[in-house]
């Protein structure tokens, strides 16, 4: 497509699609903060509000003790491109400032236990009074009503994987359920939250009306589990996991190869299946009655039979050979990629899907781009996270017009706060005291 010519090099010359939109978040950990980051990448002004002085718990998290310049790498991945305000929402003056900000914002997002916003006098009804057009999103484990919500059950990604049946469906048959290595219910839920928000913005454009949205992370992932539900309804039996075999598509599986690496392939369409059989040197298989039609091939015993034939062949080839045969014979195939591939793959680099961020505070580092490429309004990941309360003065003066003296008073009352002298909360040790600052601090 010629509209994507030189896309990565020229994207900074174009606006983001959500330019002019203002979003507030009162979120911590992953499910909450991941969503507004997508809006920030799409060009919205996102203000992350943390409770001073410790802020978001994710600042402490790390894989096996690894930090990037004292910062939690997942905090950096989940929270880029935002402005950082530290406001103690337990205090009534802070609640009033929050309302003043809401009056000048389009979207506000929370991931608190049910009814907490109400207790803080910043529930939907309170905010609606100052801004009837506000899009108000609450995300948590079980929503705002129903038994689990009212039992005040805590939740997180692993709990949602467990309670939705997602983990159950993701192991090999006969093996215990398997947890995903990524926080799928957190980040997928966060994405869906922004679909809700943007649909609500469209409605607001037409009617002027805002709305209240509630989302449960266990429920949300059930939407993505597809065939499992009607399968159980139609067969009146349990859906069961099948490891790397896709039960709906045949053949579609991951195979061990000669070089000890793995390759995944799929070839359900007639042309693809014929191509695969030809690649295996067994073109006659494509004509066998048990394999010829996709619906016939999908029958479990037939599926297992063809997958056994493919597995016996795959182990005589390297993973790269299988990928190349896929290109040649027109079926889908790939060597299993690793983080190394993700980082070094020329395709991802050329597309700018993986790129170097040039951050004033943290320097240059590698991260993912927002994986939506738009020809006229490219989304952009531009900078990373900031210390707790880093942009307080900027936000208070720019949006609310508060004077330096008024701001000093708010600090004095503990309404505004700044970072604790602790890993992940304070600036990195090599910080020059100025870079990244928009206004004084």
């Amino acid at each position: 497509m010629t509209v994507f010519k030189n896309y990565a090099e020229t994207k900074n010359k174009k606006p983001g699609p959500l330019s002019g939109l203002r979003v507030l978040e009162v979120c911590t950990l992953l499910f909450g903060p991941a969503g507004p980051s997508f809006l920030a990448g799409l060009g919205a002004e996102v203000i992350k509000i943390e409770l001073p002085p410790a802020g978001d718990v994710t600042r402490s998290l790390n894989p096996f003790g690894w930090f990037y310049k004292e910062q939690g790498p997942m905090f950096m991945h989940i929270n880029p491109d935002k402005y950082y305000l530290a406001l103690d929402l337990h205090i009534d003056m802070a609640q009033q400032i929050f309302k003043d900000l809401c009056a000048k914002s389009d979207v506000v997002e929370f991931n608190l236990r049910p009814a907490v916003t109400n207790r803080w006098n910043i529930g939907y009804e309170d905010i609606k009074k100052v801004n009837p057009g506000i899009i108000y999103l609450e995300k948590n484990g079980f929503g705002q009503w129903g038994r689990y919500a009212e039992e005040d059950r805590p939740s997180n990604d692993g709990a949602a994987q467990a309670l939705s049946g997602y983990a159950w469906m993701s192991s090999f048959g006969g093996q215990p359920p398997l947890k995903q290595s990524i926080w799928i219910c957190d980040v997928y839920g966060a994405m869906m939250g922004e679909v809700a928000v943007m649909a609500a913005l469209h409605h607001r454009k037409r009617t002027g009306k805002g709305q209240y949205i509630e989302m449960s992370q266990s429920e949300n992932i059930m939407r993505a589990m597809g065939w499992v539900w009607p399968y159980q309804q139609v067969t009146q039996t349990h859906a069961e996991p099948s490891g790397n075999r896709d039960q709906c598509i045949c053949p579609a599986d991951t195979f061990l190869c000669k070089d000890g690496l793995f390759a995944a392939l799929a070839a359900p369409a007639p042309d693809e299946f014929k191509g695969l059989c030809a690649a295996m040197g067994k073109p006659e298989l494509a004509g066998e009655a048990r394999f010829k039609e996709h619906t016939e091939r999908l029958k479990t015993e037939n599926a297992l039979a063809i997958l056994k034939i493919i597995a016996d062949w795959a182990v005589t080839k390297t993973a790269d050979e299988i990928e190349k045969l896929g290109v040649k014979h027109g079926f889908a195939a790939t060597r299993l990629h690793t983080a190394k591939d993700e980082c070094e793959d020329p395709h991802r680099r050329d597309r700018g899907a993986v790129k170097e961020i040039d951050d004033p505070m943290y320097g240059k580092y590698m991260d993912h781009e927002i994986p939506i490429n738009m020809s006229k309004t490219p989304p952009k990941h531009r900078w990373t996270v900031r210390p707790v309360g880093f942009d307080n003065d900027y936000i208070m003066s720019k949006i609310l017009g508060r004077s330096q003296q008024q701001i000093a008073e708010l600090y004095g009352h503990g309404v505004l706060g700044k970072w604790k002298d602790q890993q992940g909360r304070r600036p990195p040790s090599d910080w020059d005291g100025q870079s990244g600052a928009i206004l004084r601090r």
Partner: protein
């Protein structure tokens, strides 16, 4: 639903339910009912998922299939078909009108252009270049309709060195190429081979999640492009590459490799970056245990009666527990303890501990790892309207998870589950082209619809 003890804030719960109970969805307006969406996706459910999300919000969504139906109609475990449709598509045909059009014919492609004149959004999943070869690339279509938002969802994207690859996009291949699958799965113990333990390999997620993630990013792109179009008046092209889209959820692992040279290996149902956080066996299955703060971990140790023996009193930081060897050591110590209880007993202990434990109200997260069968029959989700079946005029009662969110003003909703191949030809071609039965019969005879 069985009675339960109401929360102190039950009035709030009742207030919200009064506003957003899905039982009242059909009394409310729809967010996107001013839009026309054309879905011509082929072989991939990423596009169908994307158009479903828009159709659930009220967009008039026209699904174009080749005569005979798209391959996705056949996607179904064990080859089960409900009338002409497999179970995977029975979930993603929702709220869409289904027409047939033979894109391999000149007349079919001309008719497609007429749809584009009326469309706000086009979704397609052909390998890059296919639409251009048909004379239906974005450059051509935007001349017909400059307001068009065209979203392509493919395995290799619309540009970049690999984008010329003419392979279709499949969920399992995309999961493998995303780098997420590599680090997920059971650990192969030293001295064992894959032959001994064929399940101890990089393992994909069961659901079509690479497709769902890509389709959802597609919906985000489309909705943000609409926002831009409202002020600029112009449409645009959107490119989603499925391994990149799902790979975006790989979190810190790219950074970890780029800056520390570490490739995260499989860690079973533990978590490389979190403690207490993992799956543990019980007498009748297993539970997820979570406690990302030191006190929650201590509370858990107290619940299993090891507070003194393990000297939990002396722990001052979670840091040492983040290390791999400590995680494995403690996992081995926890396993026999959780195995003494049923999942329900352990869940109840955690709830009780929040009231009366020595660290109360702090308590760990304990969640039973349930089968989808148990999830589907769970009264809490049923009460929340997640599995209320759709009464479809063709397919009968069908459970379509209506689970994404609830809202006071424009909630998503499912009106029908699916339609047979070409079911809406009569209505849609009459409405958009003024083609009546005589013309349609002629087109049918020529193999165009």
């Amino acid at each position: 639903m069985a009675d339960y003890k109401r929360a102190k804030w039950a009035a709030w719960a009742d207030h919200v339910r009064g506003q957003d109970d899905p039982a009242k969805n059909f009394e409310k307006p729809e967010a996107l009912d001013d839009l026309v969406v054309i879905d011509i996706s082929s072989r991939s459910l990423a596009g169908c998922y994307c158009s479903s999300l828009l159709a659930e919000l009220g967009a008039e969504t026209i699904r174009i299939e080749p005569p005979g139906g798209d391959l996705v109609r056949t996607y179904s475990p064990n080859g089960i078909m409900v009338k002409d449709t497999g179970l995977a598509y029975l979930q993603e045909g929702r709220n869409k009108h289904h027409v047939t059009l033979n894109m391999e014919t000149d007349e079919g492609r001309e008719m497609f252009k007429c749809f584009i004149g009326a469309a706000d959004v086009l979704i397609e999943t052909y390998p890059a270049g296919k639409m251009d070869a048909w004379g239906l690339g974005y450059e051509e279509l935007s001349k017909i309709n400059p307001r068009l938002i065209m979203c392509s969802i493919t395995g290799f994207g619309q540009f970049g060195p690999e984008s010329g690859r003419q392979q279709y996009d499949y969920d399992n291949v995309s999961q493998a190429r995303s780098a997420v699958q590599y680090g997920t799965g059971e650990v192969l113990p030293e001295g064992k081979t894959v032959k001994d333990m064929p399940w101890a390999v990089p393992t994909k997620a069961g659901p079509h999640i690479a497709w769902a993630v890509s389709g959802t990013f597609g919906a985000m792109g489309i909705l943000s492009a609409l926002y831009h179009r409202d002020s600029s008046g112009e449409g645009q092209a959107i490119d989603i590459c499925t391994p990149e889209a799902y790979g975006r959820l790989h979190d810190y692992q790219l950074m970890w490799y780029a800056h520390a040279g570490v490739t995260a290996e499989r860690f079973g149902s533990l978590d490389t970056a979190l403690w207490l956080y993992g799956f543990y066996p019980t007498k009748d299955g297993g539970v997820f245990l979570g406690g990302l703060r030191l006190e929650m971990w201590k509370a858990f140790v107290d619940i299993i009666g090891k507070y003194d023996e393990w000297k939990a009193e002396e722990w001052t930081t979670l840091a040492p527990f983040m290390k791999k060897d400590w995680q494995l050591k403690y996992q081995a110590m926890i396993n026999p303890e959780t195995s003494k209880y049923t999942s329900e007993e352990l869940t109840a202990k955690s709830v009780e501990y929040a009231k009366s434990g020595r660290l109360a109200p702090i308590t760990p997260v304990v969640a039973e790892i349930v089968s989808p069968w148990k999830a589907m029959h769970d009264e809490n989700w049923q009460d929340r309207g997640i599995f209320a079946p759709v009464q479809d005029p063709v397919y009968g009662s069908v459970i379509c998870a209506q689970a994404q969110w609830k809202s006071t003003e424009t909630p998503p909703r499912t009106k029908w589950a699916c339609r047979p191949v070409g079911y809406d030809n009569g209505h849609i071609y009459l409405y958009y082209f003024g083609y009546g039965p005589v013309k349609l019969k002629e087109l049918q005879e020529k193999g165009i619809i």
